[in-house]
Symmetry: C2
Subunit: 420 residues, 2 copies
């Protein structure tokens, strides 16, 4: 029996990708089933008791409510329930004074799928015969975008400048001098807080990017999956920015509901209409439970409060502790950590690492420590950049003792690698 | 402010489509808010009390269970939970003797999305430079496929022969004489029971189609969303057919969980791996609640029992009653109904209808009766076929009195149309 012959689309998306590795690692058994398993890969958020209790209570109220049979037994619309979309618009209007209505809000089955739509709506072949790319003002950028384009070469990324903030701390800075958005660019895209680095672009940087986009009539896609007002995993004093040039992507995943696949897009009405039409074709309808369980908490302000008072502080403490653990474990190895301004990752840079970080990843995996090698986050760049092989992403949202064990094992491997 | 410039992909999917109309109608308010609203469009299944109680109990047990925080608070894999995939494989092995393992099973966020992947994996541009199409052995076929192809011209459909079973009853038959699957065909696709007609291809017809596919090394995509063993909305004695040439698509929607977006694909391992890779890129992870709530019922056989003893008989009775209502309402108008062998729709043909069925649809909509005009189900055909403008699809799963009222209003409009 010969294999089915796949189309170019089929070939494009069925190959080996970084995001597939990431997801496969998440659901794979440990190399050694008898030893502790240090899962520092993937993007699973922490299970925070106060948050979990809120969701459990909310879902129990739904199940016990009169409308439950109808809630799960009928298709939602292709763009999410009207009430939830209004609640989102009103929440952002109240929190930030933005002029939004439900016509500026779309629900999508996960923000990953929203990114798939947006990246392909604004890159690849255009009706005028040109090909355009998504400009990434900074890489490393979220690995999950890397292979989303129908056009495999759909990103044009820029190297940031690296600002050292101390011997063990650095921060990527947008190099605005390199940012000419000419007619070869269909959109600008950046995650803020940035996955994988924890970088948070300043309000001024975001406004400057939006202005560059606006001047060209293209959107700035701003991935706010870790940002404000929920889940609120931001440790700097940054504020959300939105205007009609910005497409703001949100998610209920990092506020504790990744299994309900609820992505949210805030954008000008014409784009929401385009997303609605696309969703009807590709997904038919949105899942109902994420919007249903979160709408009351969104309306009451409880979701913002939990984010501000529980989720943000929780990860801020985890982030500080993760850095302390890294300092203890890595000692005088040639390492530095990116400034942790948000999100749930520690981004480590090992200067002049003698092997690619992918080899470090494989060594660690064989010892029950799963991290994400940095290579997959550097895409769309022209030319070689040794730095792209010297970094790893660690998810610090899990149990501290496993994080510490993972770091100790990493330090052992690194000592071995650097001394070879 | 000028509009954002969309890529060809963006233009392709953001346009006006039949499935968008369908979904928009489903979530739109009635034309007259003071009159009864006869929603006979869309594909919402009935709320069947025994079934709703099973899901409500199952979800309550999940919420009250120890693992709930983890269930909703962690990402599932890109291809669905292992336990559920095993349960599916074992259910089909037990019910039908098929040799399946979890490696033959994929979970996708809705069977609509599964169809999007599959249609594009097997049509459009191929690495060998050719373009290939999906062969539809029979149209009318599910409207939700019509605009899924990246290549807008990705279907090659065949007219069925129309077999009259009586003055008021007919059945579409595959015209095997017209089915040359040459190298311009990338896959064959058919829904069984067929949406919109309620047609159920016989086991022999399915085997013959699979043999044609197998001989060419291409898959037969068989959409089993209404079929066996769940939801079991089949009134004929057809049995499910699967072999390595067949890609069988299932769903939890019509067994009562459309809002949980759970599609299931059963296919040879290589294709499941390709779907897994694609899902990681496009969707990241599957929703967890559909698999979690249905796995125990799947394992115990309760899902098959409910389908056989509750769901199937429920719709069989609804179908018979719908036909009686149509007979009463339409009387001596020139109408016929497709043989109702499964699914949840009555497919009516109005011979020599003086206006396109889309106009009938618009007239009815203005009177609070929503149906689906037939035009959108006839795609991929060469040449004009007057029959394609003479049919409508009615969802009969809702309250009988609204169905009857809708048919009476339809009869009034038809009398007016035919006498004009």
């Amino acid at each position: 029996m010969s294999e089915f012959r796949l189309s170019s689309f089929g070939r494009r998306y069925s190959g080996h990708t970084g995001i597939l590795d990431l997801m496969t690692d998440l659901s794979s058994p440990p190399a050694d089933p008898w030893a502790p398993y240090c899962m520092l890969g993937g993007g699973n958020p922490a299970i925070i008791p106060e948050l979990a209790a809120a969701w459990e209570g909310g879902l129990r109220a739904l199940v016990d409510g009169d409308g439950f049979a109808r809630l799960v037994g009928a298709y939602d619309s292709q763009i999410g329930p009207l009430g939830f979309r209004r609640a989102i618009a009103e929440r952002f209007a109240e929190d930030y004074g933005w002029a939004l209505t439900e016509r500026n809000v779309a629900v999508v089955n996960g923000s990953q799928t929203a990114a798939f739509y947006l990246i392909n709506m604004f890159s690849g072949a255009f009706p005028d015969g040109r090909r355009r790319k998504i400009l990434l003002p900074v890489v490393p950028e979220y690995i999950g975008y890397a292979d989303q384009g129908l056009d495999p070469d759909c990103f044009s990324a820029r190297r940031p400048s690296i600002q050292m903030l101390g011997e063990r701390s650095f921060k990527y800075r947008v190099d605005f001098g390199s940012l000419e958005a000419d007619d070869s660019i269909g959109a600008i895209c950046v995650s803020r807080p940035t996955n994988p680095t924890g970088n948070v672009l300043t309000d001024e940087e975001v406004r400057a990017l939006a202005a560059i986009a606006g001047a060209r009539g293209i959107p700035l896609i701003l991935d706010n999956a870790y940002g404000l007002p929920f889940p609120g995993i931001i440790f700097s004093d940054a504020r959300p920015v939105w205007n009609e040039d910005i497409v703001l992507c949100m998610s209920l995943s990092k506020i504790g509901l990744p299994a309900l696949r609820t992505g949210i897009v805030i954008a000008r009405e014409e784009l929401i209409e385009a997303l609605s039409a696309t969703s009807a074709i590709v997904s038919l309808a949105t899942g109902s439970l994420g919007p249903a369980v979160s709408e009351p908490l969104l309306r009451s302000g409880e979701l913002s409060r939990l984010s501000r008072e529980v989720v943000g502080p929780y990860y801020r403490a985890k982030s500080r502790r993760a850095l302390e653990i890294a300092e203890e474990a890595l000692g005088d190895l040639p390492w530095a950590a990116h400034a942790s301004e948000g999100a749930i990752f520690l981004w480590l840079w090992f200067k002049d690492l003698p092997v690619p970080s992918r080899e470090l990843y494989l060594r660690l995996k064989s010892r029950n420590v799963v991290v994400l090698p940095g290579e997959g986050f550097f895409y769309g760049l022209e030319g070689d950049w040794a730095h792209s092989r010297e970094c790893v992403r660690l998810n610090y949202s899990g149990p501290e003792e496993l994080f510490a064990r993972g770091l100790r094992i990493m330090a052992e491997e690194l000592r071995d690698i650097y001394s070879a």
